[in-house]
Amino acid sequence: MPSGDGSTKPSAKTSKKPQYSRFTQQELPACKPILTPGLVMAAFLILGLTFIPIGLSHLSASDNVVQLIDRYDEACIPAGNSNPEEAHGKRVSYIQDDKTDKTCTRTLTVPKKMKQPIFVYYQLDEFYQNHRRYVRSRNDQQYRSAGAERKTANCDPEAEVNGNPIVPCGLIAWSLFNDTYSLSRNDVALPINKKGIAWESDKTSRFGADVYPKNFQTRSPIGGGKLNEKIPLNQQEDLLVWMRTATLPSFRKLYGRIETDLEENEKIKVVIQNNYNTYTFSGKKKLVISTTTWIGGKNEFLGKVYVTVGGICLLTAITYIIFYLVRRGN
């Protein structure tokens, strides 16, 4: 300092001293949890002790679910004992032949008493409903309002027939699943309720009440099922279910509900119209009849993992305690 000239002396007004606040001084009240041995052991024990019961209750719930699975894609095809290559060709030509009667009858045995409501599903394997081309091949605007029937963007190649828009357009609708099941018990028809199988939001908002199918499946190649042109889209629940694309190549979709109980060992006769072509890509078709509980359908995975993770936590807690004691001992 060349002997002070006064200008550098701090004055109260212009002092540059930082204002004190707990925030700017980084002294906010804070909780600082630390992984002490006690905390670690407690955490693992608590995790273990909560997860195992959750897993067990989950498993028991899953155990209460009764389900019947019947794969019919091979059985419902005239058997051919030729080589696989040839068999494949035969199957394809069978399914692609419109004139053949594709009725097929299967008999299933109820393993345990099934309480209503009992859900009927179809299950497809190796069917990529999540393929990008497939998922995008739809137009929600068209499905929603009658005035938008010309909106067929993204729907190619199932957008128009001779300049007329296809309603509903797109590959998803075009490939609609069209096997049918009719059930009977002791020769008495077992009605399947097909109402209320679609999501409510689909019926009210995504699909219009005034949109009717038009020019649908009128042109070769014909993909899957046809639609009744008298019924608006939002009441065609099969279509709505199908249009909610599956997320994985192996999936089930709701077919309908049985609203009576089924007793143990009852024989159920199923008449299947085996129309849907999964043979070209070697996909499987299954019929599934299942009850549900609070966790949904039969699902052991989640329960098992809960128990496993819980077990690992307990094991870790024990290991940790041993390590800890050994070190203390030293």
Partner: protein, 1190 residues
């Protein structure tokens, strides 16, 4: 990288003396030629000849952007980053059918991110603009056509305008000084804004114009200036004034530079020569070299790693996509008929599957782009700006006395502060206060001054002798008593000796010598007195603090300097016969100025008795050889005293005088004036030679000793830094003895250390030097240094194993040899193995060279700290430059990255802020990569189940908000607020700092570990989710899980996981962390509800998905819980075991905090046990480093 660095060094040379001299060449002959073509019509700016030259206006803009170029220019800046270019390309391509998601969903985050950065730029630029507007609209008085001085805005100023500037006003442009309020046309100028020097500089008007002091004298004033073109050299100006038919040479003496300030002068008149951007100061405005932190450079590598990962993943995806697509038609038969492979676009065409695969590769690059964190750069920028606000706001780094808080001038290097390995420090003004106190003097062989210096105290303490220390403490007691007794301490004066104070000196045996001695101190200087009108107190503006100390000492002892004019110096003097104060005036004949080459200054004055006196003060090395032949008997005593003073850490000067005879002076003056007015390149040499002729046969009076006190807290701070494992090197211009003693005083050297001294001060070399054979000297020196380095290494290796550490001391001459290419490495090898290093007698250039050597040689982070213009090169060369905004102006602070007011704040800056910032940024970047990998890979796993068709599992907008809303704020909170341990503990356990030096938190194993954890998390999330729901109903009403629901489930797990991962990675939760972490998760659900409520045309797959499908299902919640816990479990287990059984330093300290304070001792012991373990960790790390570098 080397480009701007070299420039930095050149820039620093500008301030060193040599540059000043060398550039001062005679260039008047070149006027009118290339580079010297400027023509100014003075007082006639409307002259058509002037107008045709179209010189630029005085409007100045320092902004980076203006209204028109802001958008393109700032966008260009943004897209210079590789990651941003990638996102731009992706955004463009996203309008094509290639895109796996809608264009708007990729554009929105990009715009948000770029917009945030641009907003930041805009705010910064707006601040600069406001400053510009303020400067451009300042008023100055300009002579107008009506012959009046009118207030005019700065920006309206034109070349040739005549302006009047008043006291304490800034000059609006570069002006040619015509006249001032002083008769002789001088004025005083303060150039702090230009070069940081606080002393006043004198400017002289030409004699022909000096008389133009009246406003009306300008009515007829017309002149033409021809001068050099605008350039950036602050120290040259060449021009010619054509006035009244005569030519006059113009030099820098007549140029008043923009942004300097008029002081001690009522007003000046000047002509505008350079305006606006053509002024020297604007020409000098270059951006400081931009530095990037190590972490950021490493981050770039990680980004490249991620890019290669992205390409690999996309390639794998497109390869399999190509195969499956090709198989859709086999032998003309459709396989997956529902995809209509027979009637498709090129993107899915089985017949052109290779092409489809290629396009899919591009799609993949876009889809897996989530591996690259788009918001990383902007987040880091925001975080760093906030961090530097915390640094600026830290009350513990605020210096009350000078009202200076710490200032982070760049926010780029915050985390680098946590990795400093070597601190290179200047001494004067950095370790010391640079406020010189006059403490001792030796007059006529008698030593005066009873005070004890800090160094002496340290030395006494070091000796540890009981009886000695007894005396010491009483001494200290006495000196402090004295200062209390005198009532107030006087700045620059810490002298106490009853023998000569309060006028008692008249009773001393050599009273006449004492009188002459203090008279020299009162007269031989260039200081300017300022008399306080109210109190009558006199203060001084001096060129250096030393000089001020002398003038003050003279004042205190009764020789009060109170007035200086061009031709005289006046003192209030105590008459030693009548014992009364009388005013004495001395006619000032010449000042022979100080220069670093001359190492002395003299004045020639004539006293009232018409006696001619040459008064001289200078360094002992040059003064003793100039003493007259008939040496007084106290010369050797004085020499002894000087030696003792130097050992006590004091700066000494020898004071002498000489009486001149009239004739001698006359003949010398002629010669001297001739030399001064000569117009040849060697003018300076001639002037020096002339001065040399008169500065001889001096009569010794005595010697002065001023103390440059250590700053408060310096020894403690250096101790802390040493404990933190930071090496401290001191590079100073001082003498070796002074440097060593200062080293002891600031605990850089300790008694138990072995000193390795490298010097060329040996008899043989001195002999050679006398002979003048330069080559032989160089050869001998080089050989000697080589030997000394070898010897040093031998000492070092012999002391290895024992606890003795070594201190290396090297002088400047030796350093110049040691820095040669062939010795460089062995010198560095020696130096880095020493605990502390002191380089003395070093030049500014050597400071920079040493810094570069350490930086390049060790590859570790260097921090340079200094306060003066001579440290600028070092500050710019080092990884981090810290400027002390202290006494020697602001030059160092202006070119530094961080400015602090006191050296001791360095401790907090490094150990607290540095450590925190390093930890925060390191963890933040790791976490960023973790969260993006964890998310990005779920997309890839999903592809494996969707025949690699490029369909993302999630709704477009979930994905685009991932980086912007659901995960961004917690990570910013981490970067800004996280603390592993409190500031107090950071300082208490400096060992913690080693985590940064060895880069433990951002080492490759750790980074890869986090990445691996990310991959693992994505796998657990994806496979657990899909396995748990593969077929069956997930609700009691029999509904199965579809595309919409799976996306929500997986995304929920991702959001929970990455946010909870954050929560278990940090252990510092304020309400901010809680709010951001849990708020982000809550926001995800809120977003789902809101987005799901919009029409299904817009929300598509998200329509009503949470409210209708997920929320009512217990399965959804149970699965979320399970998956989130399972995903976090591996990391949690790792942490649990690692903290307990292989803790890092911060883990140990955290545990210590918890344990009861009574067990302090035991815990410290534990801590040192840990220390050893950490040592082994370090070794391991080093091995890894070498492996990686190979």
């Amino acid at each position: 990288m080397t480009g701007p660095r070299r420039k930095g060094i050149r820039f620093s040379r500008l301030y060193s003396f040599s540059c000043f001299k060398s550039s001062f060449r005679d260039q008047h002959g070149q006027i009118g030629q290339k580079g010297y073509s400027r023509v100014v019509y003075c007082n006639d700016p409307d002259n058509p000849d002037q107008l045709v030259l179209r010189y630029c206006s005085n409007y100045v803009s320092t902004t980076k952007y203006n209204a028109f170029n802001f958008i393109p220019k700032s966008l260009f800046e943004q897209f210079r980053r590789v990651a941003n270019i990638y996102f731009l390309v992706v955004a463009c391509v996203s309008f094509s059918p290639l895109a796996p998601y809608t264009a708007s969903s990729i554009l929105a985050p990009l715009i948000a991110v770029i917009g945030a950065t641009m907003a930041k730029e805009a705010v910064e630029d707006w601040r600069r603009r406001k400053q510009d507007i303020e400067a451009n609209n300042r008023k100055v008085q300009v002579y107008d056509r009506n012959h009046n001085f009118q207030d005019t805005r700065w920006k309206k100023l034109r070349v040739g305008d005549l302006v009047k500037v008043y006291k304490d006003e800034y000059f609006p442009a570069d002006l040619l000084l015509l006249s001032s309020s002083y008769e002789d046309g001088i004025c005083y100028v303060e150039t702090t804004n230009l070069d940081g020097e606080t002393n006043l500089k004198v400017k002289h008007a030409l004699d022909v114009t000096a008389s133009l002091q009246e406003e009306n004298s300008f009515q007829q004033f017309k002149a033409v200036i021809k001068c050099e073109d605008p350039n950036d050299d602050l120290y040259t100006f060449v021009g010619t004034l054509y006035y009244d038919g005569q030519q006059y040479a113009l030099s820098l003496q007549q140029l008043l530079l923009r942004d300097s300030k008029l002081r001690n002068t009522e007003y000046v008149y000047g002509v505008v020569v350079f305006t606006g951007h053509e002024t020297k100061v604007m020409q000098n405005a270059t951006d400081p070299p931009s530095k990037r932190s190590k972490i950021e450079r490493k981050m770039d590598k990680i980004i490249y790693l991620l890019f290669s990962m992205l390409i690999l993943v996309s390639f794998v995806g497109s390869f399999f996509f190509g195969i499956t697509t090709k198989n859709d038609i086999v032998d003309g038969k459709l396989k997956r008929w529902y995809l209509r492979p027979d009637d498709t676009t090129v993107f899915y065409d089985p017949k052109r599957s290779a092409l489809a695969a290629f396009f899919h590769f591009l799609t993949g690059l876009m889809l897996y782009g989530y591996l690259i964190p788009i918001s990383l750069y902007v987040s880091i920028e925001i975080v760093k700006v906030l961090q530097s606000i915390f640094i600026n706001q830290d009350q513990d780094m605020y210096y009350e006395e000078m009202d200076k808080p710490a200032h982070a001038r760049t926010s780029n290097l915050n985390e680098e502060l946590g990795q400093v390995d070597t601190v290179l420090s200047d001494k004067t003004g950095t370790l010391t206060c640079n406020s010189m106190d006059f403490v001792k003097c030796s007059i006529a062989g008698v030593a005066y001054g009873r005070g004890m210096t800090e160094v002496e105290r340290a030395l006494a303490k070091r000796k540890g002798d009981v009886s000695d220390s007894g005396i010491t403490s009483s001494d200290i007691q006495r000196s402090s008593d004295n200062s209390v007794a005198s009532g107030k301490s006087i700045k620059g004066f810490n002298f106490s000796d009853e023998r000569i104070m309060n006028g008692q000196w008249v009773n001393e045996p050599h009273a006449d010598m004492i009188q002459k001695f203090f008279r020299v101190l009162a007269l031989c200087h260039t200081a300017i007195p300022e008399v306080n009108q109210e109190t009558g107190e006199i203060t001084y503006e001096a060129e250096s603090p030393d000089e001020a100390a002398f003038v003050i000492a003279a004042r205190e002892l009764g020789f009060e300097f109170f007035e200086r004019t061009q031709t005289s110096i006046s003192l209030h003097e105590l008459d030693h016969t009548s014992d009364r104060k009388i005013d004495r005036s001395y006619t000032l004949l010449h000042i022979l100025e100080f220069s670093s080459a001359r190492k002395r200054m003299s004045v020639i004055v004539k006293n009232a008795d018409n006696q001619l006196l040459l008064l001289c003060k200078g360094a002992d090395s040059v003064m003793f050889e100039r003493l007259s032949e008939d040496v007084p008997d106290f010369v050797s005593t004085t020499m002894d005293h000087i030696k003792r003073y130097a050992e006590a850490g004091l700066r000494t000067l020898v004071v002498a005088y000489r009486e001149l005879s009239e004739e001698e002076f006359k003949s010398w003056e002629e010669e001297f004036l001739e030399a001064q007015t000569s117009v040849s390149a060697d003018r300076d040499a001639l002037v020096d030679a002339a001065a040399d002729k008169i500065e001889r046969d001096l009569i010794l009076l005595g010697a002065t000793a001023v103390e440059d006190k250590l700053q408060r807290g310096v020894p403690e701070c250096i101790d802390k830094l040493a404990n933190a494992g930071i090496k401290v090197w001191v590079i100073t211009g001082d003498k070796m003895e002074t440097a060593i003693n200062i080293g002891y005083a600031c605990s850089l050297l300790r008694e138990d250390m072995q000193q390795i001294v490298i010097t060329l001060d040996s008899p043989e070399i001195n002999d050679l030097e006398k002979k003048g054979d330069k080559e032989a000297v160089a050869r001998a020196s080089s050989a000697s240094i080589t030997n000394q380095i070898k010897e040093g290494k031998r000492q070092l290796s012999s002391s290895e194993g024992s606890s003795v550490s070594c201190g290396l001391i090297i002088d400047g001459k030796s350093l110049s040899f040691a820095l040669n290419k062939n010795l460089e490495n062995s010198f560095l090898d020696l130096a880095i193995n020493c605990a502390s290093v002191i380089c003395c007698r070093s030049t500014p250039k050597q400071k920079a060279l040493v810094t570069r050597l350490v930086k390049k040689g060790t590859g570790r982070t260097t921090l340079a700290i200094g306060d003066g213009a001579n440290d600028v090169g070092m500050l710019q060369e080092a990884d981090i430059g810290v400027g002390i905004s202290g006494v020697e102006g602001m030059q160092a602070a202006m070119s530094s990255d961080f400015a602090i007011a006191q050296f001791r704040f360095l401790e907090r800056l490094l150990l607290v802020h540095g450590h925190w910032c390093y930890r925060r940024i390191a963890l933040m970047i790791c976490y960023f990569f973790y969260k993006n990998i964890a998310f990005g890979f779920t997309l890839f796993w999903y592809e494996t189940h969707a025949s690699f068709s490029g369909q993302p599992a999630y709704n477009d907008w979930y994905m685009s908000f991932y980086n912007v809303f659901f995960t961004s704020l917690p990570v910013i909170a981490l970067g800004v607020f996280d603390q592993d341990v409190s500031a107090r503990l950071c300082l208490k356990y400096p060992m913690l700092y080693q985590e940064g030096v060895h880069d433990i938190l951002f080492s490759w194993p750790r980074i890869l570990g986090w990445m691996l954890n990310g991959v693992l998390s994505s796998m657990i999330i994806f496979f657990f989710t899909t396995s748990s729901v593969i077929h069956q109903a997930f609700r009691q009403d029999g509904q199965v899980l579809d595309f919409e629901v799976l996306g929500v489930m997986m995304y929920t797990c991702v959001v929970w996981t990455v946010n909870c991962q954050m929560a278990i990675s940090i252990n510092y939760f304020t309400w901010i962390q809680h709010f951001f972490i849990w708020g982000s998760i809550a926001f995800w659900y809120a977003f789902l509800v809101m987005y799901g409520a919009i029409s299904p045309i817009i929300s598509t797959t998200a329509y009503q998905v949470l409210v209708e499908a997920c929320a009512p299902s217990p399965f959804y919640w149970l699965a979320t819980l399970l998956i989130v816990v399972s995903t976090l479990l591996p990391y949690f287990m790792y942490r649990a075991f690692q903290t307990e059984f292989n803790p890092m330093i911060h883990d140990v300290i955290q545990r210590l905090r918890l344990e009861s304070p009574e067990e302090e001792e035991a815990s410290v012991e534990l801590f040192f046990q840990q220390k050893e373990r950490i040592g082994s960790v370090k070794d391991k790390l080093r091995e890894e480093e070498t492996l990686l570098s190979k």
